[in-house]
Every structure is written in C-alpha cells, then in structure tokens.
C-alpha cells in the first residue's frame, strides 16, 4: 500500500477550527442569515445563477449518461460540503434498489471529497414515494444543512406537485445557520416537469494530472462537466470545474480533451466556457 500515491484529505485541524468558529459566529460561516442565501460554486457559474446555488430551494441533478452517476453524486457531495461548512448535518436518502443499482455512499470516499461522514445521516427506504416523504421531512428540519435524495428509474413520482411541495419545504427549512438545500439526484434524466430551481446534467471530465500525479501516473483532482439545463432565474450554460477538496471550493478548469459540443443540438449545448 505504501507504493500507492493518494490524494491528500482536507486538513483536519484547520477544518475543525473553521467549524468551531462558524458555530460561534454565523457570519464567519459560508453564508449569511438571509432568505437569499446562496452556495457559491465558481465565479462564472455564480454570475448565471445570481450569486450561487440558491439555498432553501430544490435542485435536480442527473447524470449525463447512466455511468456518470458517480460524478453526479460527487457534485452533490461537493455542494453539500460547501453548504454546511460550519454546522448542520446532511441527510442522504436512497431506496434499497438505488443502493444496489448505484452503490451506497461510502464513508472514506466522502471524507476525501470534503464531507465528513460524521455529518452524514443515511436513510434507506423501500419505496420511491418514501424518498419524497422523508426528503420533505428533512428539508423542514432546521438541523440539516442539506438533503440529498436519490430516485431511480424515470422518477415519475417526483412530478410537478411533488417537487413544488419539496421546494416549499426547503424554503421553510432555510434559516440563519443552515442552508436548507435539497438536492434530488435522478438516476436517469427525465422530461418530467419539475418545480426545481435548477436542473443539472453532470458528467465527469478527464482530470488534469497535477505535478505529483504527472510523475507517478495518477489521476489528479476531480473534475466535473456541468450543464445547467434549466434555470428558473437566468440562462443555462455549461462549464468545466475542478473540485478542490482542501479548500472545499470549485475552481474553473481549463478544458483538456473534452468532447466537442454536440453540433446537432446547438441550442441545448452551448460551447464550453473556460476561464
């Protein structure tokens, strides 16, 4: 195992101090006491979203291809890690079927991405309808920074009415100290109309090996190819970002070897913006 070059985990001491500070003074936390709180992603994305991913709202994530589920949940975990840096737990809801289909959340991996497993509460339910019920309960609870829920298949249960309910619950749940963020992961992108504030299609992007990795043949940092398909408050877009798990921040990434945008659907897929 000694030959294995891994990725460094976030610095625990620094993080602990930050969390302690955020408990003492919410202003030192990542956001402010406001209905209009946002989780900042990265400057170009925030410009489109009006300052960041809206708190107290529901956001839908779907993998661009079925095998990109890992990247999709990775993005959700990254957002959750940013959403409640100081306090607040994260509730992860999935059906047993979803666990078999996509694997369950794995503690050490979450830790490496910047979300401490100690902050995570995992709920396994048997029916998709239960996922929505539990998500609503979780969003209303003011002790949770973020609720991540997985829906398999078409996810027809989460229709316009259901997502509207979830959005309202999320708005009730937002408070000075927790962000009340609802992230609904659909295992398959679906045309079902939804009341979610944003809808994302997510893929993993080939990483750029860092200095260490270039020597040893490693993979480098996690990269996401984010497509904002629907945005209630602004335009959509597509970006390539890199997740810095030390700082728990998204960095705009330079495009390397990304597949060209689909030419047959020019209106859906704008050119990749790089910064």
């Amino acid at each position: 195992m000694g030959t294995f070059l891994g990725t460094a985990a976030p610095q625990p001491t620094l993080q602990r101090l930050r969390e302690a500070l955020a408990v003492l003074d919410p202003k030192l936390g990542p956001g402010l006491a406001d209905e209009e709180r946002r989780v900042e992603l990265s400057a170009p994305i925030d410009a489109v979203l009006g300052g960041g991913l809206a708190c107290g709202a529901l956001h839908e994530l779907a993998p661009a291809a079925p095998f990109q589920l890992g990247a999709t949940t990775g993005f959700a975990v990254a957002v959750a890690a940013r959403a409640g840096t100081g306090c607040g737990e994260v509730l992860w809801i999935a059906t047993e079927f979803a666990r078999r289909e996509g694997g369950g959340p794995y503690g050490p991996g979450l830790d490496l991405l910047g979300l401490s497993p100690a902050r995570l509460l995992v709920l396994n339910v048997s029916r998709p309808a239960d996922v929505l019920w539990a998500m609503e309960e979780g969003l209303r609870c003011r002790a949770l920074a973020c609720v991540i829920a997985e829906l398999t298949g078409e996810g027809a249960e989460a229709d316009l009415t259901a997502t509207r309910r979830l959005s309202l619950a999320a708005r009730d749940g937002v408070s000075a100290r927790v962000s009340g963020l609802g992230l609904l992961i659909r295992h398959h992108a679906t045309p079902v109309p939804s009341a979610a504030a944003t809808r994302w299609s997510i893929a993993g992007a080939p990483g750029l090996p860092d200095r260490l990795a270039r020597r040893s043949g490693g993979l480098g940092r996690t990269r996401f190819d984010l497509s904002l398909c629907k945005n209630r408050r602004g335009p959509s877009g597509r970006w390539l970002v890199e997740w810095d798990h030390h700082e728990r921040a998204f960095q705009p990434a330079v495009s390397v070897g990304v597949a060209a945008p689909a030419l047959d659907r020019p209106d859906r897929a704008p050119a990749v913006r790089t910064a």
Binding site: A9, Q11, F67, E89, G107, T222
Partner: protein, 507 residues
Amino acid sequence: MWLRRLSTDRIERRLSAPHNAPRVVIASIEQAQRIVAMNDAAAQLRLKPDMQLADARAMYPSLPVFEADFDADRNLLEAIAGWCDRYTPLVGLDPPDGLFLDITGCTHLFNGEATLARDLLTRLRQQGFAARAAVADTPGCAWGVARYGRQGVVPRGGNEAAMLPLPVAALRIDAGTVADLKTSGLVTVGDLASRPRAPFAARFGKGLMFRLDQALGRTDESIRPRLPVPAAMAEQRFPDPIAREEDVLGTIEQLAGRLAAVLERRGEGGRLFQVALFRADGTVHRLELGTGSPLRNPPRVRKLFAERLAVLGDACDPGFGYDMVRLSAMVTERSDSIQTGLAGGDHAEELAHLVDRLGARFGLRRVTRLVPQDTHIPEYAVAAVPAHAPAAFLSAKEQPDDQAQDSLFPVRPLHLFERPEFVEAVAQVPDGPPARFSWRRTMHHVVRVEGPERIEMQWWRDDRGNRLARDYFRVESRTGLRAWLYREGFYSRQTPHPHWYLHGLFA
C-alpha cells in the same frame, strides 16, 4: 386459569353447527390415533382422553372427529394471553391450556379478586371459551384448585386447606407419578403431605416434593411473564369503545402526560414505547416505537405514534373500537435535563426529533450513520450503525494519527457496491492494469490508471473462498468515468484466469 376445552372450543368457534354435539380431537400417539381433547358433550358419553379412536368409534360410529393442531392451539393460547394483558401486564403461559396471571396490585381496579376472576370468566365465556380460574397465593395452588377444586378465591394463607383434599394430580406432576402414588394408596395431597418426605424424594425424585412445596407455598415460584415487563405504564379504559384515530392519538398523548410525570420523578426518559390497543372483540394491537434519545414530551410521543399509525394504515383496523389503551415505556434511560447552549443545543434536539420521526415511519434500523471500522477490507471498513445507538457505538475508533491521514491516504470511492460487479476487462499484461473493460454493457477505454493497491483478504477468518488477494486500480475512462476496479488473485500463482470486478465509483 385453565381453559378446559381449548382445542374443541377453537374448532367450535369456527363451526356454525350446534355446540352441544359431541366432538373429539385426535392425534397419533404411539402408533394409534388417540383422543387428546373433547368437548363436554363427548365427556358425558364416557369417552376418555387417551382412548384409542377405534374404541371410541366402536361405541359411537358417527362420532365427529377432528385432527389435532397443536400449533393453532398454542397460537390461540398466546392470543388469549395477549387479551389477558388487560388485567395485568404479567401474564405467563402454561402450555398446553393454562395461563398464569399475576394480579398482585391490580385487583383494586376491578373491585377485588373475586370480581376480577368473574369478569375474566364471563368475558371468556362470551367469546366461547370454557374456562376455570382460581385465585391463590401461589401459582401452584391456583393451578391445582382451578383444575381439581372449587374455583374461586383461595383466601390468603389458605393454601393448605385448599390443597390437602385435592387429588395428587393437582400437584402438576406427570401421569406416571400419579398412577404410582395411587397404587401406593396415596390419593389426596393431604395423604402425601402427612408422610415423611425422605422416602418419597428417594422414590420419585426431588420433583414431587418441589411441586408439593410450591403448591403449599413453602417455596417461592415466580411467573415467567410472556412479554417483557414495562418500566412504567399508564392505561385508560373506556365504557364505550373509541375508534377514531384522533381519539386514539389524543388518548396516547394524555397517557404520555401521566407517564411523563412518573418518568420525571425518576429522572428518566423512555427509549422504547409500546402502545397496546385492546379491541372490544378481543384482538390486541401492539405498536412499538424506539426513540433516539430519552423522551417524555407528550406531544412528541403523540407525533411519533401518529407516524407509526400512518404507516400501518389498515393493518391496525379498529373494528368496533378499542375499549382500552395502554402506553408503556418498555425501556427507559437516565435523562438529565440539559441546559441548552446558546449555539448548538436546539439543533441537536431537532435532529434527534427528526431521527425519531423517520425511525417511527421507516423503522429505526433504517436511519443509520456511517462509522469507520478498524479493518483494511474496503467493504467492511464502514459499518452502518443505527443512528439511535448509544454514542459509544457511533463515535469512530481513534484514527491512528491525523498527520498520516493528511499526507498519503489511500483513495477510496464515493460509491461502493455491496457486491462487487463482475466486469470483462482486457489488460495488456496479465498482472497489469486494465486497458479497457465492459461494465453494464458499455465498453470503457481506460485513459489513466492509478495503482495497484494490493489488499490481502483475511485468510485466517475466511474459511471458504474469498481469500484471493485483490489488486485495486483507480481508472479513468475516455468519457470521464472514474471507477475502482480490482483483479481477484495473482495471475498464475493463485488463479490462471483472474477475474475483474468493479467495486466502486469515484466522483
């Protein structure tokens, strides 16, 4: 309490035919079909238990016969015991056809022992059960008197007077001993009790004397309750049954208020609550509910039971209504009132409440936390521990040291499959990293690889298979899929054709 005709009562409750026809229940004992139970009408025909069916048929060719179903009898006895919970929480089974009720301290609720026994027998008779009951100081005495004596209340200290005239069979001893005693001329308990003990102990073993002492109250005997005895309970009876859900929940809240007073005096809170709903027709619904932290706040108890009732739905059909509701705190735990801090306190409480609500709805075992375990095998490195478990189980074992984790920590995936998925992979050299692999019918071309990380299995624990070492690779495909693959076994040394598995997905 003795249910004299349990088997035939069970059968007759189902039948619409007149109940006064003779009926017998048979079972195969010692290569012959023998009568094991019969109803009163059959008893009047001088049929005897243990008689062979052929003999009975010779006497009465048209005798209706039923096969014995001991499991059904047992279930019925359990159901009756559950129903008897309305009198006391301490109900012990005495198979095949008896029940012990410890009514110490319960009798005032029914205006005395005699009234309680009468009420019990009347209600059982209304439901079609022939029963005899006796109230006595010791279970042994009550057992004997209910079966062989005048049923009713044996006055305090009257054990000997009640037992001595009874036949020796009243001592709960097997039929062989009874027959032996009879041949030696000992017919009643009194005959036995007046003789010196030592010869009997030598002849029949200690059991006989032990039973005698139990019946006469010379040794203690405790009733083994069928259900765990609650730490605290409160109950409410209704002259008119209630059926509406709001009424039931309102009653639960009211009972929780009474329970809270008791628990508060003890400085405790309930961790496991049980509501027993006694339906007017004898069915008992029991709803159990655990909590994440000691709880005694009545509105919360109500809310949790509301969730539980919502899930159960029709499984908890009130029928003609419930005539008694009992709320018990089965498990309690010390709960000191905590002074909430300025910052964190309310959050912790709110979280505990959320866990309780989710637990009430889906079962507490489904709300879990991921706790790191001290093992290097990936699938066991994290255990899902129920979130309501004591804090000692939830806190991780101390990490060896933070520095080690900070510098070079083995990379682990975000999603781990409980069962690694078989993939077809092609490697350039048999013990090298994969060049491409096919997972779920999609071919992925590997662009970049990290690894191998070799993980040896615990051969000393695993006695069948699964001992092959694994070489893990973190691969990235051309399309951006990052996966955790491993090859099981070393090429040629352990296996000629190593298989590849996909064990997890990275972000």
